[in-house]
C-alpha cells in the first residue's frame, strides 16, 4: 500500500501549483482551472485522511466540495460571458474599470 505521506505530498504540490497559476496567469479561464486544482488538492488531502482515520465523513466532504466548486464555476462563467460581451476579452489585467 502506498503510504499516506505520498498522497499528502502530491496534494501539497497540487495546491502550490494551483496557487501559482492563480497568481501568475492572466486569463480568467486559466485562473479558474487553477482554482479547481486548489480545491482538488484539498479533496485529495481529505480522502487521504479519511483512509487514515477510517472516517467516512471526510469522504463525504469531497462530494460537497465538488458540488460547491461546480456551482462556483457556473457563476464565474456566467459573469465572464457578460464581461466578454463588452470587453471582448477575459484577461484579468483588462478588468480595470474599477480603481482609485
Amino acid at each position: 500500500m502506498v503510504p499516506a505521506s505520498y498522497y499528502l505530498i502530491l496534494s501539497v504540490v497540487l495546491f502550490v501549483l494551483g496557487a501559482l497559476g492563480v497568481l501568475l496567469r492572466r486569463n480568467a479561464l486559466v485562473v479558474f482551472m487553477s482554482l479547481e486544482m486548489m480545491f482538488n488538492a484539498s479533496n485529495l488531502a481529505f480522502i487521504t485522511f479519511a483512509r487514515m482515520y477510517n472516517a467516512l465523513s471526510a469522504q463525504v466532504v469531497v462530494f460537497f466540495v465538488m458540488t460547491v466548486a461546480a456551482a462556483e464555476v457556473a457563476i464565474g462563467l456566467a459573469l465572464m460571458v457578460e464581461i466578454f460581451r463588452s470587453k471582448r476579452s477575459v484577461d484579468i489585467d483588462q478588468m480595470n474599470t474599477l480603481k482609485g
Binding site: 492563480v22 484539498s42 463525504v60 460537497f64 464581461i83 474599470t97 474599477l98
Partner: protein, 481 residues
C-alpha cells in the same frame, strides 16, 4: 459535549432557516406571476417575511440554559447563533427596503438570492463542524457574487462581481485546505473536539499554527481585514449600492461570528499565537483603512476604506480574547450594521438622483432634504464614534477590552486612527451643507423612509440605552468561554 440524538424539537431550532428557504421559494414562485410593475409588492412581502421570521426565531428558536449540539453535532444552538441570526435578519430586511427605492431593479431573483445568502449567514453563525462551516460560508458567498454582478448591462457591476468571486474563491480554497489539514491533524471535524484530539495526539503546535493561518485567510477575506482587503473598494464601488451595504455589514458580521467561534472554541491552546496575529491584522486594518480613505473622491470607495478600518476596530475586540472583547464585538457589529446600512442607503438615494457617486454629488443635501442630511450626519458621527450615538459605545467596549487584556498599544493605535477617521467623516459632512447648483428637493419612497427610520432609531437607542443589547452580547460571549 456529545451531540444529542435527533428529536423533532430540533426542527424548531432551525425554524428560522427553514422559513428563509420557504420565503425564498415563495418569492421565486410569485415572481412568475407578478407583473413587472408590481415588483414592489414582492419586496414588501420579503421585508415583512423577514420581520416575521425574526419574531418567530426570537420566540421559538431560543437557546436553553446550556448550549445544545444538534443534528449530529453539525449545528450549535447558543446565544451567539441566536444574536447573530437576529442581526442578519435585520440587515437583510433593511437592505430589501432600501433596494425598493428603485423597485424596477428589484426582481424575484434578487430577493431570493438575498434570502439564500441570509440563510447561509445564519448557518455560519451556528456551525459547529468544519464541513458545515465550509458549506455555510459558500452558501453565503455564492449568491453574493451574483448580487454584486447583478446589473449585467453595467460593466462596473459585472467587473465587481468577477473580482469578488475570484478573490472569494481563492481565499475559500486556501481556507478549505486549512480545514483539510485541521481534520488531518485531529481526526475530527467537530470544532469543539479538535483541541482535545490535538492534545491527545501531541501534534507540533507549528503545524496547527500553519493550518490556523490558512483558515484565517478565508475569514480575513470575509471580514475584509487588511491585508485581505483589496477586493472591498472595487467590489463596493461596482456592486448595486444596497448590496454593497449588505456586504459591508451583514456579511462582515457573519465573518466575525465564524472567526470568534473558531478561534475561541478550536484554538484555545494557541491563544498567544492567534491573539498576536489578530492584533497585527487589527492594527494594519485600522491604519491602512483610515489612511487610504483620506484620498478617496468616490463616496462608495470612501465607505469601503472606512469599513476596512471599522473591521480593524472590531478585531481589537477579538484580539482581547476575553468575554468583554467578544461582547464589545457583538455590540459594535450591531451598531455598525445599522449605521453603515443607513449611510449606503443615503448614497443609493442621492446617487440615483444626481447620477454620480462623487463626494461633490452630496453638496447641497442640507437644502434638498434636511432630514436626510441630518440622518447622514448622524450616521457619519456614529461611524466616527461620537457620543451619544451607538458607534461610541461600540468603540468604548472594544478599546476597554484591549486595555483590560493588556494590549494598550492596540488601543492607542485605535484611538489615534479614529481621529484620522473623524477627519474624513467631517469632510463629507461639510460637503452635505455646502451650497450646490442643483437644489431640487429629494423625495424618497415609503420603504426607504421606513428603513432609514429603523436605522436612525436604533443608532440613537443603542447609543443611549446600552443595557439590554449589551446583556445579550455578554450572554453571547459567555457561550464561547
Amino acid at each position: 459535549m456529545n451531540p444529542a440524538p435527533f428529536e423533532l424539537s430540533m426542527l424548531l431550532a432551525i425554524l428560522p432557516e427553514i422559513l428563509l428557504v420557504v420565503l425564498a421559494a415563495l418569492v421565486l414562485l410569485l415572481n412568475l406571476g407578478v407583473r413587472h410593475r408590481a415588483e414592489g409588492v414582492l419586496g414588501w412581502l420579503t421585508a415583512i417575511g423577514l420581520a416575521v421570521i425574526a419574531v418567530l426565531s426570537a420566540v421559538f428558536a431560543r437557546p436553553g440554559d446550556t448550549p445544545q449540539l444538534i443534528f449530529g453535532g453539525m449545528l450549535r444552538l447558543d446565544w451567539v447563533s441566536f444574536s447573530f441570526r437576529l442581526l442578519f435578519l435585520l440587515g437583510a430586511a433593511i437592505t430589501v427596503l432600501v433596494s425598493l427605492e428603485h423597485a424596477r431593479t428589484i426582481t424575484g431573483e434578487y430577493l431570493a438570492l438575498l434570502l439564500v445568502s441570509t440563510l447561509g449567514m445564519s448557518l455560519m453563525a451556528s456551525s459547529a463542524n468544519l464541513i458545515m462551516l465550509y458549506l455555510a460560508i459558500e452558501t453565503t458567498s455564492l449568491p453574493l457574487y451574483l448580487l454584486a454582478g447583478y446589473y449585467v448591462e453595467n460593466q462596473k457591476s459585472v467587473e465587481s462581481g468577477i473580482k469578488y468571486m475570484l478573490y472569494g474563491a481563492v481565499t475559500s480554497a486556501v481556507m478549505l485546505y486549512g480545514f483539510s489539514l485541521l481534520f488531518g491533524l485531529s481526526g475530527t471535524a467537530n470544532l469543539a473536539m479538535i483541541p482535545f484530539r490535538l492534545t491527545q495526539t501531541g501534534v507540533s503546535p507549528l503545524l496547527v499554527g500553519g493550518a490556523l493561518f490558512l483558515t484565517l485567510v478565508g475569514f480575513g477575506f470575509k471580514v475584509s481585514a487588511a491585508p485581505f482587503h483589496f477586493w472591498a473598494p472595487d467590489v463596493y464601488e461596482g456592486a448595486p449600492t444596497p448590496i454593497a451595504g449588505f456586504l459591508s455589514t451583514a456579511s462582515k458580521a457573519a465573518g466575525f461570528a465564524v472567526l470568534v467561534r473558531v478561534l475561541l472554541v478550536t484554538f484555545p491552546q494557541l491563544a498567544s499565537f492567534w491573539t498576536l496575529v489578530v492584533a497585527i491584522l487589527a492594527a494594519l486594518s485600522m491604519i491602512v483603512g483610515n489612511l487610504l480613505a483620506l484620498t478617496q473622491r468616490n463616496i462608495k470607495r470612501l465607505l469601503a476604506y472606512s469599513s476596512i478600518a471599522q473591521a480593524g476596530y472590531i478585531l481589537v475586540g477579538v484580539a482581547a480574547d476575553s468575554p468583554l472583547g467578544v461582547a464589545g464585538m457583538v455590540y459594535y457589529l450591531t451598531s455598525y450594521l445599522v449605521t453603515n446600512l443607513a449611510a449606503f442607503a443615503i448614497v443609493w438615494l442621492v446617487a440615483q438622483q444626481v447620477g454620480s457617486e462623487d463626494l461633490d454629488a452630496f453638496s447641497g443635501l442640507g437644502k434638498r432634504n434636511p432630514a436626510i442630511a441630518l440622518a447622514m450626519l448622524i450616521s457619519l458621527l456614529s461611524l466616527g464614534g461620537i457620543p451619544p450615538l451607538s458607534g461610541f459605545i461600540g468603540k468604548v467596549l472594544v478599546f476597554a477590552a484591549a486595555v483590560e487584556a493588556g494590549q494598550v498599544a492596540l488601543a492607542i493605535i485605535g484611538v489615534l486612527t479614529s481621529v484620522i477617521g473623524l477627519y474624513y467623516y467631517l469632510t463629507v459632512m461639510k460637503i452635505l451643507y455646502r451650497p450646490a447648483v442643483d437644489e431640487a428637493p429629494l423625495k424618497p419612497s415609503l420603504s426607504w423612509r421606513t428603513a432609514m427610520l429603523i436605522c436612525v432609531v436604533l443608532m440613537l437607542a443603542l447609543g443611549v440605552i446600552v443595557a439590554p443589547w449589551y446583556g445579550q452580547s455578554l450572554a453571547a460571549a459567555s457561550a464561547l468561554f
